[in-house]
Symmetry: C2
Subunit: 194 residues, 2 copies
């Protein structure tokens, strides 16, 4: 299975795995397909899975009081996506997670992750590193979001993630960067004062 290969390769970059370990690890992941617009997670339901994206593009977002969609996370090939808070605490999700194009993912269930961590400390290490990186990433993102203006956030994003620009519609990226579609468009076309 090609997907299982991919997740093993990914894991090997973080922790060394023997053949048997790699087999066990990859065996709990199930390949799934989601069509464009299909939901992986919906608010109110407990997020039972973490998703590793093999192919496609996926967005996570909330709907605020005014009914506006606000992008919280994006994922393409080799990225993970979930409602982290819901998954970790096994409480109802607050996020929509939705395929932006036809996508293939590997899913691991909460129970299987717990099992892996119990059975072999190396897996514990793997998930620990994932969590650490996630937290470090969020801290960096948070700092950027509060210290930079909209135009700076735009520039920084373009420089850091040019691939995402092609995969996601602008209104999704605009809200990921904490601005409206219209303002994003103005910045893009260099008409925002600057």
């Amino acid at each position: 299975m090609p997907g299982q290969e991919r997740i093993i390769q990914y894991a090997q970059k973080l922790v060394p795995l023997t053949l048997e370990e790699a087999d066990l690890f990859s065996s709990v992941f199930k390949e799934k397909r989601f069509k464009k617009r299909q939901f992986l997670i919906q608010p109110g339901f407990v997020d039972k899975y973490k998703y590793f994206v093999l192919k496609g593009a996926i967005k996570a977002y909330v709907i605020d009081q005014q009914g506006q969609e606000i992008t919280v996370q994006l994922a393409i090939e080799d990225w993970w996506i979930s409602d982290y808070n819901s998954y970790i605490h096994q409480q109802p999700a607050s996020l929509f997670v939705e395929a932006v194009e036809d996508s293939e993912v590997l899913e691991i269930s909460y129970e299987d992750e717990q099992y892996l961590k119990t059975v072999n400390p190396r897996f514990e290490t793997f998930f620990r590193i994932m969590a650490e990186r996630g937290a470090a990433f969020l801290q960096r993102r948070f700092i950027l979001s509060i210290t930079q203006t909209a135009a700076e956030r735009y520039d920084q994003f373009i420089a850091a993630y040019p691939q995402l620009l092609a995969k996601f519609p602008q209104y999704v990226i605009a809200s990921y960067l904490g601005m409206t579609t219209q303002f994003f468009s103005r910045i893009r076309n260099n008409k925002a004062g600057k």
Copy 2:
């Protein structure tokens, strides 16, 4: 040592520890005192320690391009503080971490943490749970910060962390909530439109 007791109690809430495990765990923590205004971490230097606050109040912040102080994290009794990104990747810090009042902390070094994780999977579990919670916390905070207005963020903060209001000057909390001191003051005195 009273401090070691506290960290053991804290750890026990996340993972069960035998007496020997608790001893080993607490043995790597060193008690330190910081005077008001003293820096625990400064930008440019690698953050070698994670700090568990026994007593006092500590803030983490960045200085933005305009020279403004922007609070990134706050910590009081039983909270942890560090430049997470710097610590995890052992790269130069971007944050100032500074005592807001005379404080007592327990510090654990990066090397000691690695050692604990190597020697016993239970410690690996402990740090994994810490990282997960940190990431989940940051995700929640991030979503709140982008979906709510300044006044809503103020109300939510007051409701969630009334203790912090007393410990930190308003300008620190204002910037933690992503607004200016002046605007914070107006909201507080109910003169901001609302």
